[in-house]
Symmetry: C2
Subunit: 199 residues, 2 copies
């Protein structure tokens, strides 16, 4: 099934064609909050994205219990768990809100939107209004406009979150594993300036 | 501007409301390839996402030179650079293809789609067909269906990429910096099973 190809015949970098495999990893692992059947519910989603500065997308398989709640109320929350929550975070992806009351795992709070439950234990919480839904065969892609964002005190630096203290959980499909964030490598819109003198 | 709030009046976790700030970080840094004005062009995008298993989204400000090429040909590539390419990767986000021939920085190869140039030096390359465009006020969000994926030999393990060898560049807006991937934390769909006995 795998086919070895030359990237270019005249070079020695060998590449293998591995099918039409999605390799956009790692992705941030999130806990999505919604009101379903009148109760707060949380589910684990790492197929997420940034559309523009105000908008987040969630790629959610249509079987998810949460989808109906997002459609009904037009709101949801995006909560960013830290590594210490990895067990509970994974659990929320293993069991369905149809059978299990997952809100018992956390303390829930609300912000401006009264139907977007948020998780107190997660250091970052974003409440979102449903702005668009993009339909895929097996997935609803919900696009949320961020209404307000909350960050635990002690994790802010100059008014913005300090990523090194947040310790987000990164998801990789290749090995079906969670990973940690590493080290700061370089400044964006800056390290590339060194290239100017090389071209 | 920042407002301190209690998550819940009865607990001691203090949170600060930091406005409607997008906190879905880190995101993978990609180099997007397209044919623009008949030539290969590459631009740096970290506002990306996974919509379903076959689909990737790119949130691209409308001013980008690349957008016209993606619209014209209906194809693009998503290339995942490794940390050793951080300088060139950042450079591709600093300068526009309008003024600078960025394809000189890399060796270009093509796969099945003849208008989706890919970067040989990037360990992962995905060629995509434009499936949908979602319109935002200042951004085109291009949704690509992955047609084929290429991975450098030596970076595969059991037929899938080994993330620890890929060394992707992760982008964080808070500190406008690139970060590395850390360590494997736990198995997904597994570590959460321990919670079953706790509930």
């Amino acid at each position: 099934m795998l086919r070895r190809v030359f990237a270019r015949p005249e070079t020695l970098i060998m590449k293998t064609e591995i099918g039409a495999r999605n390799c956009l990893y790692p992705m941030p692992t999130t806990l999505i909050g919604a009101t379903v059947d009148g109760k707060p519910n949380y589910t684990t989603i790492a197929h997420v994205g940034i559309m523009d500065h105000q908008s987040i997308s969630l790629g959610m398989a249509k079987m998810h219990h949460t989808n109906a709640g997002i459609k009904e109320h037009g709101t949801f929350s995006v909560n960013i768990p830290s590594v210490e929550l990895v067990e509970k975070t994974d659990y929320c992806g293993l069991v369905s809100g149809k059978d299990t009351e997952k809100s018992r795992l956390f303390k829930t709070f609300y912000g401006k939107l009264k139907t977007a439950p948020m998780i107190e234990e997660c250091p970052i919480n974003m409440e979102c209004k449903l702005a668009k839904t993009v339909d895929f065969p097996g997935h609803d892609v919900f696009v949320g406009e961020i209404v307000s964002t909350y960050c635990n005190d002690g994790l802010l630096k100059d008014g913005v979150p300090d990523i090194s203290k947040l310790e987000p959980i990164l998801f990789v499909m290749y090995d079906r594993s969670y990973w940690t964030l590493g080290k700061r490598l370089a400044k964006a819109w800056q390290v590339g300036k060194r290239q100017e003198h090389k071209n």
